[in-house]
Symmetry: C2
Subunit: 249 residues, 2 copies
Amino acid sequence: MTEQRGPDRGSTGDPEGGGPGEPAHGRAAGRGADRGRVVPEATVARLAVYLRVVTVLGGQGAATVSSDELAAAAGVNPAKLRKDLSFLGSYGTRGVGYDVHLLVEEISRVLGVTRHRNVVLVGVGNLGRALAGYGGFASQGFTIAALFDADSARVGEKINGLAVQDMSVLAASCRTAKVTIGMIATPAEAGQQVCDQLIAAGVTCILNFAPIVLSVPDGVDVRKVDLAGELQILSFHERRKSAGLEEVG
Amino acid sequence: MTEQRGPDRGSTGDPEGGGPGEPAHGRAAGRGADRGRVVPEATVARLAVYLRVVTVLGGQGAATVSSDELAAAAGVNPAKLRKDLSFLGSYGTRGVGYDVHLLVEEISRVLGVTRHRNVVLVGVGNLGRALAGYGGFASQGFTIAALFDADSARVGEKINGLAVQDMSVLAASCRTAKVTIGMIATPAEAGQQVCDQLIAAGVTCILNFAPIVLSVPDGVDVRKVDLAGELQILSFHERRKSAGLEEVG
DNA sequence: AACGGCTTGTGAAGACTTGCACAAAGTCGG
DNA sequence: CCGACTTTGTGCAAGTCTTCACAAGCCGTT
Ligand SMILES: NC(=O)c1ccc[n+]([C@@H]2O[C@H](COP(=O)([O-])OP(=O)(O)OC[C@H]3O[C@@H](n4cnc5c(N)ncnc54)[C@H](O)[C@@H]3O)[C@@H](O)[C@H]2O)c1
Ligand SMILES: NC(=O)c1ccc[n+]([C@@H]2O[C@H](COP(=O)([O-])OP(=O)(O)OC[C@H]3O[C@@H](n4cnc5c(N)ncnc54)[C@H](O)[C@@H]3O)[C@@H](O)[C@H]2O)c1
């Protein structure tokens, strides 16, 4: 009932069954929308990468890309890429490749980023400031609609043209702006409480930077960004690499 | 040859074979070190979470934890947690649980964080400043040993008591401090070049914040933190949740 | 109109993960 | 010292994901 998605991927046992073994052809109208197709979680995570890569290729003037080219650019196996894209429907042309523009459109559609989404950020400290000032969100279809902090000394301060607001208006603000995604950049101690407040305000997706495991009701998605955890994973691999030196015998 | 590890988990086809199907009992001396045991990638990612959770529990005075308690706190299935911990060896006591202190020690050992590791950070901009000022790394066994930036206006500036250095001394600095982990917080355009410089300086593990796929030689591990990507994944789930409303028929 | 070359889409096999269920093993009260 | 109770460690089955290999399909050329 909690199972955070993060660096690993977890699997909360989605109600949907069916897997790759499904009689995939014969369903899902050949070239139309992906009606009823289940996109695996692992694929969703890669779609974000493909979207960025294919957008760049499009910007460089490419009209089509082959799965080999795209896979190389995204750093994945070509077969995996093709299978991933096949979940969106059949948008490639055999012998030619994928139409770059169409691909951008279709991936965006599946990811649900065809229209901008509003996001709120709670906790405007060290990290929160960096996030608030980051232009990379807007270019990917996300607008930070509001900033919140519990520190009254910070309320009212403008960051990147956006005023920091008091926590008391969080719920009203989220509902007005139809915000469904919240980012938590408060200290760990405040994380769970802020999370609860966000959910009470109607937020159903949370990106958590605090190093804690949030507990949320069903229907709310949480992804966590755990930087120290990332370093520990790297540390593990580092240790393994150098392990050979001492354990030769 | 590239395959970044990030939100998803990828699998670069590690040379190691063997899997869970291995005759796990009968090997790995019952209670001693985990000699020769292969720790699955998915488990490694969770070990970082367990380490944090169990550390907190220890700080609260708990002497032992059961797999159920620990699993609940970490947000995973108890059986999964036990299997994960079994890769470190047999450090639990049946009928009692795990010794908190011992567990911290063993997980730290496997993750290779028993002694502090030095890390360098390249790119002291918006995000880099936040990272440089973050105290959470040190408490997890990582010390930011040096900061680098290409902007001469920033070289010399002190952040959190550490001076920003010029890129020209990166290699020397890394070798002197025996740094094997590097963090990249430069704009996307500079990412690959900086990555190459880090590798040339002897770095073998990279944590990348730039929204690009780095290409690195074998033997170098990359993990990426893609915030816009995380939001897109959340967006996908959000879209799915609200899809029922329009597709009822 | 048929052909050769190239690339997609996907069945099938294999690899990896998860989670159940339970025997093994240890504790605690009597 | 024993028996009841608790909790670990893990065999096993069921998923989920990855990768290979190749038929099917599209294009341009002859
Ligand atoms: N700074 C980094 O680079 C970094 C890296 C990784 C993780 N993190 C994590 O991100 C979080 C924020 O880090 P930071 O360095 O920005 O910390 P910070 O202390 O600089 O900022 C925290 C902000 O949250 C606000 N806050 C505290 N309680 C609140 C509440 N109940 N409601 C709303 N706002 C509240 C504070 O007023 C402050 O402005 C921490 O959990 C930290 O562990 C930070
Ligand atoms: N700010 C955020 O919250 C945020 C969030 C997600 C991702 N990112 C990514 O992190 C990276 C950094 O973001 P930022 O907002 O800090 O950008 P920034 O422009 O504020 O900082 C970039 C820094 O890198 C330095 N730099 C440029 N080229 C360099 C080179 N070749 N060698 C060394 N240093 C160089 C610049 O001088 C600057 O100080 C970007 O790739 C961005 O997409 C940032």
